[in-house]
Symmetry: C2
Subunit: 160 residues, 2 copies
């Protein structure tokens, strides 16, 4: 497993890598990575944390790319639908996917200390939830896996 997010790293490279991976996927699948969509993805990659739709809208507005909520929500719908970004249901916020182009069931570790969110990638269909679903005759189409708690750094600062 990998849990990108709680450690410093080179942001410039993840932005470029992320955008180009998305562009590649769009080309391959005949999707349009329009200016607004691309910019929203960049914003998410730049900030590198979970952002609310209205946070994003504010940036778009300041750049003259849109001023009304639907602009942000549509771009986010596109990005989440195609796996370029994810919605953190627990926070009603959005975050760039840390493995654009990969096939995965995303899971998130949300630190309540520093508000950072790390994305872990789990193999689909192998967990207890899948077993429970199978036992109940339930067919999973989408799974939300989110854990709240403290990252190593914040835990060190709070308790002994």
């Amino acid at each position: 497993m990998s849990a990108i997010g709680f450690h410093p790293h080179n942001h410039d490279s993840c932005i470029k890598t992320g955008v180009s991976a998305a562009a590649k996927t769009c080309t391959a699948q005949g999707l349009q990575l329009t200016e607004v969509r691309r910019r929203v993805l960049e914003i998410l990659l730049e900030r590198h944390r979970a952002l609310g739709a209205y946070d994003i809208l504010e940036v778009l507005r300041s750049e003259g790319l849109g001023s009304q909520p639907p602009v942000a929500y549509r771009a986010l719908d596109f990005l989440t639908k195609h796996g370029f970004a994810h919605k953190i249901e627990r926070l009603n916020k959005f975050i760039a996917c840390s493995d654009i182009g990969g096939d995965h069931t995303p899971a998130f570790l949300i630190c309540t200390g520093c508000n950072q969110v790390a994305e872990a990638h789990l193999e689909a269909g192998t967990g207890r939830l899948s077993k429970a679903a199978a036992a109940a005759g339930f067919t999973i189409e989408r799974a939300v896996l989110e854990a709240e708690g403290l990252c190593e750094t914040c835990r060190g600062q709070t308790a002994a």
Copy 2:
């Protein structure tokens, strides 16, 4: 595992059992199961599905138990905090716990066909998410596990 929710059963008995289990827990822990709180729990148990806070508020209002949103939200906060009810983050709705008094990590199966929600109980700390968290030095305090898909009945009706 158990996935209560997709099969018919005796509601009267779950309401009584649920309320009395909650009452017992409250007594044991010095918590106040006030009229509003008890009634909200009953409403959730009666409906036996996920309800929005405003759905609940509407019932409370019709019964003269409260008319403003905070009344419903406070009761729901109490119930969820103490494990008598759960919030389904994906739906922004609430549901009574199907195992009040039990110690568990709740997981939910949300049928997009019939909108029923089944609660499964998983043993805490034994899944892949826990492993991923441990590997990242992350301490989980709360987990959200929700799967959307089709229950056996709805799947049968949709596809071949």
